[in-house]
Amino acid sequence: MSVILECRSLTKKYGSTTALSDLNLSLERGRIVGLLGPNGSGKTTLIKLINGLLVPSSGTIKINGFEPGVESKKIVSYLPEKTYLPDWMKVSDAINFFKDFFADFDEKKAYEMLDHLHLDSSKRLKALSKGTKEKVQLILVMSRKADLYCLDEPIGGVDPAARDYILNTIITNYNENACVIISTHLIADIENVLDEVIFIKEGYLQLHASVDEIREKEGKSIDSLFREVFRC
């Protein structure tokens, strides 16, 4: 199995605050990885570093051997925490937008998934409910044939049925050659889907292990272990 993401001594400071501290991490293709930690632990900072939206204070980050930039962005599909698509866009506009930007975007696949949701693509994003808008964004991101998917809180604020839809969309669309990183603090909802978990605490990497390994060794769920590690 080949490495898709490699972080070495990765550090990010905002002024005097250290958001990520000397992070060493290596992720392989074909895995679904949970990036877990309480609010403010550095999850989003790491994802933004991977996507080149932030620059490391020190250390390196490589995606398939490339530093974040044009080459890495071709193979990383990113679902940010907050939407960046303007409200006035129709769903079909958003699809065209993605088609223009990304060579690996599969338009047919996107429309198939929208059809499956009985979603009319001539609707404006502004007219969609919060849950539906999140589903549309996920469909866009998962319709790319990327090597690394970074999903920042994809299941925050949606109902349990929508959550199942989102998880199924992820399982259906990821391929053996790709790695999926899912950042969340809603662990119980997704832990059965994950192959590996990463715990980040106050900017430090606390744990990186396989889910079944943890359950075998500790005899408890990732959720219980999380509550233990991060007890306030």
């Binding site: 895995r31 399982i171 259906t172 059965n192 359950r215 408890k220 959720d223």
Partner: protein, 123 residues
């Protein structure tokens, strides 16, 4: 088939047990073709890697076999299924008896309870 996953046991082991239960109860019949790993993973909402591991485990025990071109099948070896059934029943009852033992209920009392409850269920 409904998948019921709890959270403190390795997921692949739970998948193995549930497919075993499916074979014993006849949801999966001898020689049946299984859906693809990805379809099974989607139904159970688990990672395809975990479902793959469960399949490897079942293949190792001979309960499932893979045909290179046409997919995965449930074994047609009825003797093996009979053995699995015996094993499974033994395990469930052993766990139950251990629990009763922990509660300080002896075998005689346990059996009288089983008779009473099953009589009530018939009514």
């Amino acid at each position: 088939m409904q998948w019921e996953l709890n959270t403190d046991k390795p997921v692949y082991l739970q998948l193995v047990e549930q497919i075993q239960a499916g074979i014993i109860s006849g949801i999966y019949k001898p020689g049946d073709k299984l859906p693809s790993v990805r379809d099974l993973a989607i139904k159970a909402t688990v990672s395809p890697n975990t479902m793959q591991r469960a399949m490897t485990e079942l293949e190792r025990d001979g309960l499932v076999y893979a045909n290179r071109t046409s997919g995965r099948f449930i074994t047609s070896d009825e003797e093996l299924i009979g053995k699995l059934r015996k094993q499974y029943i033994t395990q469930v009852i052993q766990e139950f008896l251990d629990k009763m033992d922990l509660l300080g209920v002896n075998l005689e009392e346990t059996i009288s309870y089983i008779n009473m409850i099953s009589d009530n269920n018939k009514k």
